[in-house]
C-alpha cells in the first residue's frame, strides 16, 4: 500500500471507526486512542491483508478486539457488564455538537447506557453501510446471533428511552 492509499483509507473510514469506538468506550479520549491505535496496527500489518476489499471489516474487527483487550485490563474503559446510565451521561456530554437535537442526544444517552454487547451491535447496525453479515464478522458471532442480539438490544434501548422519558416528565 502506498501512502496516498493509506491516506485515502484513513479518510474513508476514520469517522465511522471513531463513531464505533465512541459507542464502545463512551468517552472521546479513549475513542480517539482506539481509532489511532487501529490505524497504527494497520500501518504495521496491513500488507498481510490479501483481499483489499476486506480493509473495512479488518479495521472494525481490529478496533473491536483492541477495545476488548483494553476493557479487560484498563480501569478507564468501564462497564463490560450490566447497564450504566451515568457513564452514558458523562460520555455524551463530552462531545461538542451544536447541531445535535435533543432527541438525538437522548438517543445517544440511552445507547451509551446499554451493556457492551448491545452497544456494539447497535452502533454497527446504525452506522452507514454495515450490513448484518459484516456485523457478524466484526463481532465474531454467527449471523443468527447478530439478528437476535439486535432484537434484544433494541428492546433494551426502547425500555431505556421509556424510563428516561418518564424521568424527564417527572
Amino acid at each position: 500500500m502506498d501512502p496516498l492509499n493509506f491516506q485515502n483509507l484513513v479518510e474513508q473510514h476514520y469517522a465511522e471507526l471513531y463513531r464505533f469506538a465512541f459507542s464502545l468506550a463512551r468517552n472521546a479520549d479513549d475513542a480517539s486512542d482506539l481509532t489511532q491505535q487501529t490505524f497504527a496496527i494497520f500501518a504495521r500489518k496491513g500488507d498481510e491483508l490479501r483481499d483489499p476489499g476486506k480493509c473495512k471489516s479488518w479495521l472494525f474487527t481490529t478496533l473491536y478486539r483492541e477495545f476488548l483487550k483494553e476493557a479487560g485490563r484498563s480501569k478507564r474503559i468501564v462497564s463490560m457488564d450490566g447497564e450504566d446510565a451515568s457513564a452514558g451521561d458523562l460520555a455524551i456530554s463530552n462531545i461538542p455538537s451544536p447541531s445535535r437535537t435533543a432527541e438525538q442526544h437522548e438517543a445517544l444517552e440511552a445507547l451509551a447506557s446499554l451493556e457492551e454487547s448491545h452497544r456494539s451491535v447497535l452502533s454497527l447496525f446504525y452506522l452507514d453501510h454495515c450490513p448484518y453479515h459484516e456485523i457478524a464478522e466484526i463481532l465474531g458471532v454467527p449471523i443468527g446471533t447478530v439478528m437476535s442480539r439486535i432484537s434484544r438490544a433494541k428492546e433494551a434501548l426502547r425500555e431505556r428511552l421509556h424510563v428516561m422519558g418518564r424521568k424527564n416528565r417527572e
Partner: protein, 249 residues
C-alpha cells in the same frame, strides 16, 4: 414463521438499504401484509431506527484526529510496500500532515496552564539519570507498560518510535514537571544502557516540539530528541550523543 420470529428478523431490517433485496427478510416482510399488529410494531421500529441512525451519525470525530492518525503512521514500521515511497510524495504528505496538525493545534481551544518545553527539557537529565521506576516488567513487554500507564493516570495512545521496536521495555512511571503530566517509558538498550521515552499531552505545553521532524540537543551528557505527532509530544533521551538517539527514531 410466527410473529416473534418475524420480529427478530425484521429487527435487523433497514428500509432504504440493500436489505430489501436480501431473501433472508422476504418471508418476514410478506407477513407484514397479513398481520396488522406486526405492521404497527414494524412502523414504530422504523421510527426508532431513524432517530438512532441520525444520532450515531451526529458523533463527530475530533478535528485533529485524522492528522494524528496520519502522523502516527509515519512513526511506526511501515509495511514492506510502504518502504518504497517516492520521496517527493512522502515529503508532500508529511508537509500536509504537519500543516494540518499545526493548524488544528492553533485553532483548537486548550484548557489549563501551559508548561514551557524548556522547563521540561531542563528536567530530563535528572529524570533520565534517576532511572528508578515504580513499575518494572520481567519480560520486556511494552504493552504491559502501556497498560500500567493507562491504569495509573498516564498516557496510553502514544506511538513508540520504530527504532525502539524490538528493544525490551524495562519499566515506567508517571511524573509531573511544573504541572505537566509526563509518562516515562524505560527501554533496555543492547549495550546495557537505558533510553527513556517521555510522553506528554501536547496541549499541556506552551511551545510543543514540531510534528514529524525531531529536534536534537544535548544536556549534561544526555542526548535528547523531541517531536510531536498531533495529540502527543515526545522526548527520547539517553546518555550519549545526538547520533545515538537519532538511531533509535
Amino acid at each position: 414463521m410466527d410473529r416473534e420470529e418475524a420480529r427478530i428478523i425484521l429487527s435487523a431490517y433497514r428500509p432504504g438499504r440493500d436489505d430489501a433485496a436480501d431473501p433472508a427478510f422476504a418471508p418476514a416482510l410478506a407477513l407484514l401484509d397479513q398481520d396488522g399488529e406486526l405492521a404497527d410494531w414494524f412502523a414504530n421500529q422504523h421510527a426508532l431506527d431513524i432517530i438512532l441512525q441520525s444520532a450515531v451519525q451526529s458523533i463527530e470525530p475530533p478535528a485533529d484526529l485524522k492528522a494524528s492518525i496520519l502522523a502516527s503512521a509515519k512513526m511506526v514500521e511501515p509495511p514492506a510496500a510502504q518502504r518504497q515511497w517516492q520521496y517527493p510524495v512522502w515529503l508532500a504528505a508529511a508537509a500536509v500532515v504537519a500543516l494540518l496538525a499545526g493548524l488544528s493545534f492553533l485553532i483548537l481551544p486548550h484548557n489549563g496552564p501551559k508548561t514551557s518545553l524548556a522547563s521540561i527539557d531542563a528536567a530530563i537529565p535528572r529524570l533520565t539519570k534517576a532511572h528508578e521506576h515504580p513499575f518494572a516488567t520481567d519480560d520486556g513487554d511494552v504493552e504491559k507498560i502501556r497498560h500500567w500507564l493507562a491504569g495509573n493516570g498516564g498516557d496510553k495512545g502514544f506511538v513508540v518510535p520504530r527504532g525502539l521496536k524490538g528493544i525490551q521495555g524495562m519499566g515506567c512511571e508517571v511524573t509531573a514537571v511544573n504541572g505537566a503530566k509526563i509518562s516515562i517509558l524505560c527501554f533496555e538498550l543492547h549495550n546495557g544502557g537505558a533510553a527513556h521515552l517521555y510522553v506528554m499531552d501536547r496541549s499541556q505545553l506552551q511551545n510543543p516540539p514540531p510534528d514529524l521532524k525531531p529536534e536534537f540537543q544535548e544536556r549534561d551528557g544526555i542526548a535528547m530528541a523531541s517531536w510531536s505527532d498531533g495529540r502527543h509530544s515526545y522526548i527520547l533521551a539517553m546518555p550519549g550523543s545526538g547520533s545515538d538517539v537519532r538511531a533509535l527514531l
